[in-house]
């Protein structure tokens, strides 16, 4: 596989805090990769190591096969970055900022720039200090999508956008992917990642706890099964592939491991099925599985399946 981003046992410490703890991330060329995790999990730190702003303490980070710390400036020619919290120069207009960022990269495609300004509905004549958070983000997004680059590093790029602009953003990412660009999309908005990304990595406390295609992840997770039966079924509560079972007369509601599905369905068929729904887990449910203990600690019931 031709990896655009690869980290091996990446460690980054800030004083006593270990922000990245042997992190292994791999993003193949041309894929749109979702980078999921709550605030403070290490998403931005990973991206800043990949940008050569932070120096890793242990392990390796590679961008296009090169060391981002040593060759930062050269590598930056091939990528565009949208920070999670965009700070603009108060005295420069949005238009000036977009032009400057384009020229640092070697030139601005004026047609593309104007088209994106139009699509994102952004006034380029306002000064940086008078833009709202969403509009600051739009300035960075226009500059990034207008750039002719191989890789887009997007760190929670839609946190300040309204749903309408969120849709425009999704379109732009899809176009970039169709042109063969690689996209790393850090986010905690599941629907966005589900709509855009083929592969996903879930980060927790500086470690990648799960990585793979969404299809694979779904397969490995439990589906929610609800059925109305004709006759009572026995022994379901003892089945090791069945969880969270609630039986109310002939109605049952449970979650089932993917590996146990055929076995459970066979048992239900024997009892006779009047109605049946079976949903694959949403990305949110997969995600919550890895964070269930933290939710429990903050008093929220585990979200898996229910």
């Amino acid at each position: 596989m031709n990896a655009v981003i690869r980290t091996e046992n990446l460690v980054k410490r800030f004083g006593h805090v270990t922000a990245l703890d042997h992190l292994n991330l791999e993003v193949a060329q041309g894929e749109t990769h979702g980078f999921l995790g709550p605030n403070g999990a290490g998403k931005s730190t990973t991206i800043r190591v990949l940008l050569g702003m932070l120096r890793s303490d242990e392990g390796r980070a590679e961008l296009f096969g090169a060391d981002p710390w040593k060759d930062a400036a050269e590598l930056h020619r091939r990528l565009a970055y949208v920070p999670g919290d965009v700070a603009l120069w108060p005295g420069l207009t949005g238009g000036e900022t977009i032009d400057l960022l384009g020229r640092l990269r070697g030139g601005v495609d004026k047609g593309k720039r104007d088209e994106l300004l139009e699509r994102f509905d952004l006034d380029p004549r306002k000064k940086g200090r008078s833009y709202s958070k969403g509009n600051r983000q739009k300035v960075a997004l226009v500059a990034a999508f207008a750039a002719d680059v191989d890789l887009l590093l997007l760190d929670e790029p839609t946190s300040g956008l309204d749903p309408l602009m969120g849709a425009v953003f999704n379109e732009c990412v899809k176009e970039a992917a169709a042109q063969g660009r690689t996209v790393l999309l850090s986010s905690h908005i599941m629907s966005e990642v589900e709509a855009l990304c083929e592969r996903v990595s879930i980060i927790r406390k500086g470690v990648i706890v799960e990585t793979g295609s969404l299809a694979e992840m779904r397969h490995l997770s439990r589906s929610r099964l609800r059925a109305t039966l004709k006759n009572p079924v026995r022994g379901l509560e003892d089945h090791e592939g069945v969880h969270d079972l609630v039986a109310d007369g002939l109605d049952i509601d449970c979650t089932v491991d993917a590996s146990a599905l055929d076995d459970v369905l066979a048992q239900l068929a024997v009892a006779g099925v009047a109605g049946l729904t079976c949903e694959p887990p949403s990305l949110e449910q997969i995600f919550m599985r890895f964070y269930g203990d933290e939710l429990a600690a903050s008093g929220v019931h585990e979200g898996n399946g229910k």
Binding site: M53, L54, Y81, G95
Partner: protein, 543 residues
């Protein structure tokens, strides 16, 4: 009509909640207040015994009076009335030397204080949360001004205590000395309250406040040098005109301060009601839709972002140079009025009077010019702390380009401002005297290697110890201390030698050492290279 509506109707509502905001602001600025007040009062408290010790006898003070009564020295200290009282009053000598500087520091403190409690909060939307509570529109300004008045009174009280050890006045003299600072504090709090309404952003508000201070110091200097009305245009001047610790001591000039303070507060309050939240009295203009062709590199960006600071420096130095130049032009008239003994005291290294004045002015120009270079490096650090640099750092730019371009920007700023300062000095002080004009020009050039060392040091500190911003200020303040107070405080030789300006020689009063200039330039280059190395090795941390 309900009671609440009635209250809003009659205008009291705009001040509702002032007490709550006051407690909140006091809590938030307690460290700021503590360090500034302790700094100004502590410095005064330390200098009192030094000066008392150094000028114990009447004869010593009379001798010092001879050196201090020239227009050049008066422009950097205070009215000549103090000098006439030197012999009989140590307090007069002390007040004369210190008032201008401690009043200027006090003014800086209140400009920063009022801006941070009003416009800075509004700009960052912090006060938006507060305005949504049952808090009046004018409450934050009212409470910021109450905090300021309180701080000014405490500062004045501590300064009065510090000054009690001085001989020469009557019982009320220490109180008047303290009150002179309180007056400066409240005037600048009032002026800054207006500045904070004019502009949408805090840095412009601070800029207006400091510009008012700059004008005050210039007017006081010009007026004191010639003994004319210009001092009356200066808030700092009003405090000096109390003639504290002299036989002519008087309180009433502080009434002028009080009137101006009250007047400017009323203007500021009127402005608050006439503008929208978050807006300034002057509306923000729409800018360019596309960038100018020149804005295409990190270096171009750095120069663009520091443009305002560079112009401020150039204008300040031209004015400063010309103000000192006008004093220099009158030096001969002054010398004619001196006795032979007094001339001997002024005689530095056998050179003439003008040359020795010019030496002093050239070195002051250089220190002020270096300040603007130090400020440019500080801007580089700020790009990092507020996260704006992240977009540039993620572009194909080496560390040498960003944030490295803040070094050339700082060197350019300090060099250019020093040169225009020298030009202003020569043009207004040596017109028609080609020889002196040339000497001032050379003397100004001689300062450059020392300026470069200071800037390169500050840059290296930024590169290696980015969090230690105080190091920048320590370095600059030290050079200032050595030039102004080195002899006065009787600093040891080695401590003075840390300042690069200490090695330049006193040209044109004395000779300069070419070898020292070469060594200083080499040190500056080495520090710059060391700084670049540090920038390549460290993390860039954006918030």
């Amino acid at each position: 009509m309900t009671a609440a509506a009635a209250e809003i109707e009659n205008g009291l509502g705009t001040l509702a909640g002032t007490g709550k905001i006051l407690r909140f602001q006091l809590r938030r600025s307690r460290l700021f207040l503590f360090w500034w007040i302790a700094g100004i009062a502590g410095f005064t408290w330390m200098v009192v015994p030094v000066i008392t010790e150094q000028y114990q006898t009447e004869a010593e003070r009379a001798g010092f009076a001879a050196t201090m009564s020239s227009p050049a020295m008066l422009s950097m200290s205070g009215p000549v009335e103090y000098v006439h009282a030197y012999a009989e009053s140590v307090g007069a000598l002390f007040s004369h030397r210190m008032l201008l500087w401690t009043c200027a520091m006090t003014a800086v403190m209140f400009v920063l204080l009022v801006t941070r409690l009003t416009r800075a909060d509004e700009e960052t939307s912090r006060s938006e949360v507060i305005r949504s509570l049952p808090i009046g529109r004018r409450a934050d300004l009212a409470s910021a001004l109450l905090v300021s008045v309180g701080a000014a009174v405490v500062l004045g009280g501590l300064l009065a205590l510090a000054a009690t050890g001085l001989d020469g006045g009557d019982g009320a003299s220490p109180l008047l000395f303290g009150a002179a600072h309180t007056a400066v504090g409240i005037v600048f709090a009032g002026l800054t309250a207006i500045a904070a309404q004019l502009s949408e952003n805090a840095s412009t508000s601070t800029g207006y406040g400091l510009a008012a201070l700059g004008a005050s110091v210039l007017f006081a200097g010009a007026g004191n040098a010639e003994g004319n009305w210009a001092t009356w245009l200066s808030p700092v001047g009003w405090s000096q005109l109390t003639y504290v610790y002299t036989p002519q001591e008087r309180w009433w000039p502080l009434l002028v301060s009080l009137a101006v303070a009250v007047g400017s507060v009323l203007v500021a309050f009127a402005m608050v009601s006439r503008r929208d939240f978050g807006q300034g009295m002057m509306a923000a203009r729409r800018g360019r839709a596309t960038a100018k062709p020149g804005l295409k590199s990190a270096t171009a960006l750095t120069f663009r972002l520091t443009r305002g600071l560079i112009w401020t420096g150039v204008i300040t130095l031209v004015l400063l140079g010309m103000a000192y130049g006008s004093v220099l032009g009158g030096a001969d008239d002054f010398a004619d009025g001196l006795s032979a003994a007094q001339k001997e005291i002024l005689d530095r290294g056998g050179s003439d009077l003008k040359a020795s004045f010019a030496t002093t002015f050239i070195s002051i120009n250089a220190i002020v010019a270096a300040l603007f270079g130090v400020l440019v490096v500080g801007r580089g650090r700020k790009e990092e702390t507020v996260g704006r640099g992240e977009l540039v750092a993620a572009a194909p730019v080496t560390r040498g380009g960003w944030p490295g371009s803040y070094l050339p920007a700082a060197l350019f700023t300090a060099t250019a401002t020093n040169l225009v300062g020298g030009l202003g000095l020569a043009a207004s002080g040596a017109s028609g005297d080609g020889d002196l004009f040339g000497k001032i020009a050379i003397g100004t050039l001689v300062q450059l290697p020392a300026i470069w060392v200071l800037i390169a040091f500050v840059f290296a500190a930024f590169a290696w110890l980015p969090r230690a911003g105080w190091l920048r200020w320590l370095a600059w303040t030290w050079t200032l201390l050595v030039v102004y107070f080195g002899a006065l405080l009787d600093l040891p030789e080695w401590a003075m030698a840390i300042s690069p300006f200490d090695h330049l020689g006193n040209y044109p009063a004395e000779d300069f050492s070419a070898a020292a200039l070469v060594v200083l330039t080499v040190i500056a280059a080495a520090l710059a290279a060391f700084g670049h190395l540090g920038l390549r090795r460290r993390n860039l941390s954006f918030n």
